[in-house]
Amino acid sequence: MASLSSRDDGETLAEIEERHAADHQSFLAHRAFFWAKMAVFIALFVIVTYLLIDVEPRHNGGSWYGYALGTLGAGLIVWLSWLGIRKRRPTPGSWSLKGWTSAHVYLGLSLTVIGTMHTGFQLGWNVHTLAWVLMMLVIISGVYGIAVYAALPQRLSENRREMTREQMIESLAAIDKQLKSAAQPLSREDTDMVVAALEQDVLGTGVVARFRGPDRHDATRSALDHISTSRAYDDDASDLAQQRVRSLLGKRAGQIDQIRRQMRTKALLEIWLYFHVPLTIALLAALIAHVVSVFYYW
């Protein structure tokens, strides 16, 4: 048993190294950009054949070439949609989920060429163009998704500054607790401002507010402005309390900004799926409508 494991260790060191490298390799670069090359080849092949094949009177989804591209495109759309189910079953190998995702991304991009050439650039206000538009929107949202996945996680971790989300919330709660006791000696008017700040629901904001991000003039900043505006801070008890509240409000605003930045980055990172997924399902329906209508009125 020992010899077996030691032999394994010796033999597979390079392999382990390689596997680790592969583990950290992006799905975009999977198998040395195999699917990227495949997609470029498919796109170029379609463009060249589109230019070479003479369809009279002009290119049309209803020519033999149009039907061929349409069949290919419809098959691709169904297969690409399958990722939504496939992703729940991670498996290793060349059909690993990473490989599958890599193919999904690149073949999805090549679909812009296949689908558009299938239309023969004959677009109009009809169910056929609806399918094409939905397809393009799905692809565009997917491209956005890849772009933010490449750029935003970095920003997300920079903003966290080693804090977990729980810690951010707890930090805010701690500040609030201090603020509550620190504000006790304050006048009615000041207290109202602090109460308004404390009652603010930082996390329960709507979609639009999430994208607006930090540095907004909210109740905390209003309180901060109010308490700091043209006040002389003396050493008496009242003024000391105000100073303390002011510094706590400052901390609170900073913490809210961090939370909001986190929420905005997360929103930017997650929003595409709210388009990509429902639009894909809508596209499948439009594809059915497209194919049925074409053959129904053949």
């Binding site: 009177p57 109460v195 709210y274």
Partner: protein, 587 residues
């Protein structure tokens, strides 16, 4: 008086901590300030919010310390008096102060505080966009249902449920919402069918049938018999055969179907004529497969097209038409003498005469004699009366100030008119005698009783080579009597093609018709293929002035009702080109 203050707090695990303390005196102050008897650390509470005072009867009066009110037993107020024995609840912010009377006479005030949670673990989830967005699943289902209902269910249901399923160009749109199925606008010719999809798409999942097209297009003739078409086409290429096999599986009618060539929904405009390759695929080397064809091979007008042939009268006086090749040497014999060059000269007597007549210019031009048809497509036959007679006068007599003219086109009438002409000089029947008065020569009642010898001489002279008739016509004695050969004018020459003058209007006549150098009326002044090719080249010849497909001159479908053995009228191309064809003119 003693107040018993009972504070109830909760630990983090939820366990209650109850603390009791006593406050001596009849007044209890409640507020945020630490100097109060009951301190409520709630920012919603005033520094000195309420004071409670027990009167001599044991009742408690609650008074607000400022204008800010408080809630007592669920009602907002600034002042209230109550009996603690019956209980009472004062609410300030999150704290509740319940008043009661202890058996020993002390007033019990129980202070409880509502817990507010911050930073629980559920809050972490609220970082995610999902907490603010509508569900993906709902959006997907709604769009799927909307699309399938609007674009599948409604059109199919209304298509299947309509009562009268006869195809027809008229009537309202029976199938609802099927406009969304249209892949593009129909051609202008089919514009009326735009919203009537079911007129052509008769049965579900069945491609448009020829029968449907022919229901309206009844006059379309066959290009050739089916067996000859098949022979001319030859075997299909492997690729084409495969494609047609696939098409057959899907129920397409086949290569001869109308829709094979005539695709629709390509956008408003004219339906595009078939491409050159469509014709040339058979006609390029058709003689090899169809040995008995009279047609020459052709696949491109610019590079491979037989010499043009014209249908003309080659035998003088004969009605028969013969096709002659327009090789520049072609001759016809329509029965007229008409040297074009002489008439178009700018220096000879013709030009002088034209210059002297008010309706002509310095010399004759083509348009002086050749008048176009109303549609500018061709020319009317030349008529003696309107086109020749202002020079070639048929005047034979003058009476007073007016002239008597022979009637053109009727030799017997001419003969009769000349015989009856009573003013030709005649030999007097008597000599030396003169009639008197108004009966004498030149008088009003003069009558010449001499022999009309000159009249007959005039007839013979007119019908002779140099005579007034023979000037243009060819005299003949056939039939025993002097006459002229009949004349046959044609206004169209092509058997299998059409020509339209209107698009050529900007050209000079002589750029195609070499009339200015033709000394003989027998010259067939039609252009040769070479002349046409100066502008017209094949469809692919982009550098040519006019890249020309076969369909510019030829029609695939001869209209069945006009096609005859001699086939003078090939009007079909006119239909293809969308131009009206003149029915005017005669042989």
């Amino acid at each position: 008086m003693t107040f018993l203050i009972r504070t109830v707090d909760h630990t983090a695990t939820g366990r209650e901590i109850v603390r009791d303390r006593e406050v001596e005196g009849s007044t209890l102050t409640i507020g945020r300030a630490t100097t109060n008897d009951v301190v409520i650390a709630d920012l919603a509470v005033e520094q000195h919010h309420v004071s409670a005072e027990v009167d001599e009867r044991g009742r408690i009066a609650l008074e607000a310390g400022s204008t800010r009110d408080f809630t007592f037993d669920g009602r907002k107020t600034t002042s209230v008096r109550f009996d603690p024995a019956k209980g009472g609840r004062l609410t300030l912010g999150l704290s509740t102060l319940a008043f009661a009377r202890e058996p020993d006479g002390r007033t019990l005030v129980t202070v409880t505080q509502e817990e507010r949670e911050f930073g629980n673990r559920d809050a972490v989830r609220r970082f995610d966009l999902a907490s603010a967005m509508p569900s993906k699943r709902a959006a997907a289902w709604i769009s799927v249902l909307a699309i399938l209902i609007a674009f599948v269910a409604v059109p199919i249901w209304t298509n299947l449920a309509r009562t009268d399923k006869q195809p027809g160009a008229d009537g309202i749109d029976q199938v609802a919402w099927d406009a969304s199925w249209s892949t593009g606008r129909l051609s202008l010719a089919h514009h009326a069918l735009e919203n009537n999809c079911e007129a052509c798409h008769v049965a579900p999942f069945v491609s448009v049938r020829d029968d449907t097209c022919l229901a309206c297009h009844q006059d379309i003739g066959d290009h050739a018999a089916q067996n000859r078409l098949a022979a001319a086409r030859g075997p299909m290429s492997t690729g084409d055969a495969l494609l047609w096999q696939v098409a057959d599986v899907f129920g397409k009618e086949g290569p001869e179907a109308c829709t094979t060539c005539h695709t629709e929904h390509e956008g408003a405009g004219r339906m595009e004529p078939a491409a050159q390759q469509f014709c040339s695929s058979c006609h390029e080397s058709m003689d090899a497969r169809l040995a008995d064809t009279a047609l020459g091979n052709a696949h491109d007008f610019g590079t491979d097209h037989p010499q043009l042939q014209a249908l003309v009268h080659v035998e003088l006086g004969s009605e028969d038409l013969t096709r002659v090749t327009l090789d520049g040497e072609a001759r016809e014999d329509h029965g007229l003498r008409f040297p074009h060059a002489m008439h178009l000269s700018s220096t000879n007597g013709v030009a002088r005469m034209a210059g002297n007549l008010p309706d002509y210019g310095e010399k004759l031009v083509c348009a002086d004699c050749h008048r176009p048809t109303d549609d500018r497509n061709g020319f009317l036959p030349v008529a003696m009366e309107s086109d020749c007679e202002s020079c070639h006068s048929l005047v034979y007599d003058k009476v007073g100030t007016t002239y008597r003219t022979l009637r053109h086109g009727d030799v017997a009438q001419m003969r009769a008119d000349l015989i009856a002409m009573d003013r030709a000089p005649r030999s007097p029947i008597t000599r030396g005698l003169r009639r008197p008065g108004e009966f004498k020569r030149g008088g009003r009642y003069f009558q010449d009783f001499g022999r009309p010898t000159q009249n007959y001489i005039g007839i013979v002279r007119a019908l002779s080579e140099g005579g007034v008739c023979g000037e243009c016509h060819i005299p003949t004695g056939a039939g025993g009597e002097a006459s002229v050969m009949p004349v046959f004018q044609r206004n169209h020459y092509f058997l299998n093609a059409r020509f339209d003058h209107a698009p050529h209007a900007q050209e000079d006549c002589t750029s195609c018709h070499a009339a200015d150098t033709s000394d003989s009326a027998r010259d067939l002044l039609l252009p040769t293929l070479t002349t046409c090719r100066e502008c017209h080249q094949g469809a692919a010849a982009r550098e040519a002035d006019v890249p020309s497909t076969c369909a510019m001159c030829h029609s695939y479908h001869p209209p069945s009702f006009r096609r005859r053995e001699e086939g003078p009228q090939s009007v079909a191309p006119a239909r293809v080109a969308g131009l009206a064809r003149s029915g005017m003119g005669s042989e």
